[in-house]
């Protein structure tokens, strides 16, 4: 019986891939376990093994084809004696997911009198007009930032699990070992508390460590060194002993990796005096902020996101491009409502703004970019113009950055508010594994749209 070979999913985030190479030809006999093709995923080139034995009857997708969706038939296997013509590709249906229920009905919010509207601050660009830019992924931008800083300053080094020979579990340190050697690009054993503390000591000792956590979920093993040693020593030493160190890695939910591997720690770190916290969304911010972080004399928590790693943005081609901490970026100007977000939350905020525009609501979208310090002024200026604000955050709702922003807005701009500030956050549950539940646990664009309409009384 002819069977189809389908494009396999070879990583948690893979939706499509490149069929890089066929290692078997039509007519070749294949044994179970033979490598039949090489497939490039979003992370790496993987060897694809045959599951069953048979003859490669027909190749449906030529090598070199990019963007082949997972589960697309790529070849047909036939059995001994069967002709390839018998290999009629069948279509398959997998169990589908049910449509999402509508978000729950909105509650009436109290009105407050409208206040005079000041002129909004004009957004400053991050780079001079006319600067050449190029399209880069967040992954490449992060790597370039580290490489540039390592070229600039010999005391900068990187350590972490799989950062050197494996080129990074998420390929952020690709090529660094080749360029800088094993003295400066260091594979550690799996001992987060140990190497975080060692990094703190190295920083006290005059170096500028970049410590990569394979993901921030594992930084919980190292929490004591980050909070009690890195963040507090400058203060406790009366200003003598600073700790210039960057702790970086992916933070927040990836895809289907469940409760222990899907948590946004932004609010945790941002609550600690002595730490700085950056959480970029775009590639240019990832680059400019990471360079600033490495030069900063303080401990910086640099929260990346696995889902954003493969996303491309324009990055300026400049000798030395940095983005300062504490300066938000206005991605979209608007009149009716201010959407404030950071990191992956920006994906939902920007999508929501687009949808809202089709319904005649003009949303201003602000990316905080750093969570310690926070650029309150940009948020307040925008709010004094729109009189309405919705925050978008992936993390848990209780004790969130969103809660903090709401409090600051209430204190500083109460009279300008035409509606309560609403927080769109992840749900107050550990991340479930099941695909349908995971979707519900995360914040969604529809929830942001609904909240924006609610504060606009629409």
């Amino acid at each position: 019986m002819a069977t189809e070979i389908l494009m396999p999913a070879l990583s948690p985030t893979m939706e499509e891939g490149t069929l890089a190479k066929w290692l078997k030809k039509e007519g070749d006999t294949v044994a179970a376990g033979d490598i039949i093709a090489e497939i490039e995923t979003d992370k790496a080139t993987m060897e694809f093994e045959a599951v069953d034995e048979g003859i490669l009857g027909r190749i449906l997708i030529a090598e070199g084809t990019e963007g082949v969706k997972v589960n697309t038939p790529i070849a047909v296997m036939v059995e001994e004696g069967e002709s390839v013509a018998d290999a009629a590709p069948k279509t398959r249906t997998e169990s589908g997911t049910k449509p999402e229920p509508e978000p729950s009905a909105k509650a009436e919010a109290p009105r407050t009198p409208a206040a005079p509207k000041p002129a909004a601050r004009a957004p400053e660009p991050d780079w001079p007009e006319g600067t050449e830019t190029r399209n880069q992924t967040v992954r490449e931008a992060l790597r370039d930032a580290m490489a540039e800083e390592m070229r600039r300053e010999d005391t900068v080094f990187i350590m972490g699990e799989e950062v050197a020979e494996y080129q990074g579990a998420y390929k952020i340190t690709q090529g660094l070992l080749d360029e800088f050697g094993a003295r400066r690009v260091i594979d550690t054993p799996i001992t987060e508390h140990g190497f975080a503390g060692l990094g703190v000591g190295a920083a006290f000792g005059g170096l500028r460590p970049i410590v990569e956590f394979m993901t921030f979920n594992f930084a919980m093993q190292a929490m004591d060194q980050i909070v009690n040693s890195a963040a507090k020593t400058l203060y406790m030493s009366g200003g003598q002993m600073g700790c210039p160190i960057v702790f970086r890695g992916p933070n927040g939910a990836a895809a289907r990796v469940a409760a222990q591997h899907s948590q946004d720690y932004a609010a945790w770190y941002a609550s600690i005096p002595g730490l700085k916290v950056a959480m970029p969304y775009s590639a240019s911010d990832a680059k400019g902020l990471l360079k600033s972080a490495i030069r900063d004399p303080n401990p910086v928590i640099f929260l990346e996101n696995e889902i954003l790693y493969g996303k491309s943005f324009e990055v300026p081609v400049l000798e030395d491009f940095t983005v300062p901490f504490g300066k938000a970026r206005i991605w979209r100007e608007g009149r009716d409502v201010t959407l404030v977000s950071w990191g992956i939350g920006m994906t939902y905020a920007l999508e929501a703004a687009k949808k809202l525009a089709t319904e005649g609501i003009s949303a201003e979208v602000i990316d905080l970019r750093t969570l310690r310090p926070i650029d309150y002024e940009t948020v307040l200026d925008s709010l004094r113009k729109t009189n309405r604000c919705v925050t978008v955050e992936e993390g848990f709702p209780v004790g969130s950055i969103s809660n903090h922003l709401s409090a600051v807005i209430m204190r500083e701009a109460f009279d300008w508010l035409d509606a309560p500030v609403l927080n769109c956050t992840g749900k107050d549950v550990p991340m479930p594994y099941a695909a349908n539940l995971e979707k519900h646990a995360l914040v969604t664009t529809d929830e942001v749209v609904a909240a924006a309409k609610q504060v606009c009384y629409r």
Binding site: L6, P8, A9, L10, S11, P12, M14, T41, K43, A44, T45, M46, E47, V51, V70, N71, E94, S95, T97, K98, P101, E161, E162, E165, Y166, A169, D187, P189, I190, T191, H193, G194, N217, F218, M220, Q221, A254, A255, R256, V257, A258, A259, Q260, H261, K427, D428, V429, P430, P432, Y433, A434, A435, N436, L437, H440, A441
Partner: protein, 331 residues
């Protein structure tokens, strides 16, 4: 198949050999099927296969008695099958369905069974080690003679909490067997690149814990070492360490291209040291079973695995209301 030295085959019964063969084969076929379902997008996230390491859990489960406990890392499918959990429930958890052991909420890395005394499935490297000692603490406190098998990897062996646990376990004579599954790699890092200790089990000496190295590709050797460790624990003599030398054939997880080792290295071990092939040869040469008998077992195993996959595909997704359940126990 190369001849093996030292393996005690004299006093092993046909029934035992047949059981080891069946149990190891079930794990292998189950894992192959899981790999297939992952490729089809039916399983998501991280999925760590146990192929190559089957003799470790099958040998140690043979040394365990009813009521003994076990806890391990994310590479946990084999442990669950070996301790008698239902393949259907395990596979349905891998696909994130209602019929799974955690009703779809835990996934491949986080599964549990009170009934079978399986305490997980833990995603954070090393975190299960003190938990295993805590399970043993509870048994000692309650005054029974149960032991806890606490499995962890060669990479996990470098986590600080392992040594904090060793100290307490020996200090309080806890009935816990620390099983280091040394499969030579922690993701892409070989043992040689992560430690200069010549052996991992010998680190126990610093805390006064006895232990030994075991050939993890020989289920009989694993069973024999397990018996010894269990006897030590049940006699109230405290913890014991088994460093079981094994090998994983597949990548670390489904997204690992495994470029840190050669295909030849994998191929050589598959050909010369495969644990299932070893028992197969013992069965055939000892005239305990014919080729036909083994074919029948292969067929039955495939049927069990296929039924688990069918169940895992047909079981519905959890009800959306499940999102909000199990966060707190009812007071």
């Amino acid at each position: 198949m190369a001849a093996r030295k030292g393996a005690a085959t004299a006093n092993v019964s046909r029934d035992d050999l047949m059981k080891y063969y069946r149990d190891m084969l079930l794990i292998r076929r189950f894992e192959e099927k899981a790999g297939q379902l992952y490729g089809m997008g039916l399983i998501g996230g991280f999925c760590h296969l146990y192929i190559g390491q089957e003799a470790v859990v099958v040998g140690l489960e043979a040394a365990a008695s009813e009521g003994d406990k076990r806890v391990t890392s994310y590479r946990d499918h084999g442990h669950m099958l070996a301790c008698g959990m239902d393949p259907k429930g395990v596979m349905a958890e891998l696909t994130g369905r209602e019929g799974g052991y955690s009703r779809g909420k835990g996934g491949s890395m986080h599964m549990f069974s009170r009934e079978k005394h399986f305490y997980g499935g833990h995603g954070i490297v090393g975190a299960q080690v003190p938990i295993g000692a805590g399970l043993a603490f509870a048994d000692k406190y309650l005054g029974n003679d149960r032991v806890t098998f606490t499995y962890f990897g060669d990479g996990a062996a470098n986590q600080g909490q392992v040594y904090e646990t060793y100290n307490m376990a020996e200090l309080w004579s806890l009935p816990v067997i620390f099983v280091i599954e040394n499969n030579r790699y922690a993701m892409g890092t070989s043992v040689k690149r992560s430690t200069k200790s010549p052996s991992l089990w010998e680190r126990g000496a610093a805390y006064g814990i006895p232990g030994e190295e075991v050939d993890g590709m020989d289920v009989l050797a694993v069973k024999a070492a397990g018996d010894k460790a269990v006897a030590h624990c049940r006699a109230g003599k405290g913890p014991y360490i088994l460093e079981v030398m094994t090998y994983r054939y597949r990548g670390h997880s489904m997204s690992d291209p495994a470029k840190y080792r050669t295909r030849d290295e994998v191929q050589k071990i598959r050909e010369e040291r495969d644990a299932i092939e070893h028992v197969r040869q013992l069965l055939l040469t000892g005239k305990h079973a014919s080729e036909d008998d083994l074919k029948t077992i292969d067929k039955e195993t495939k049927e069990i695995v296929n039924a688990s996959a069918d169940f895992a595909r047909e079981s519905p997704e959890p009800d959306v209301a499940e999102l909000w359940t199990d966060i707190y126990a009812d007071a």
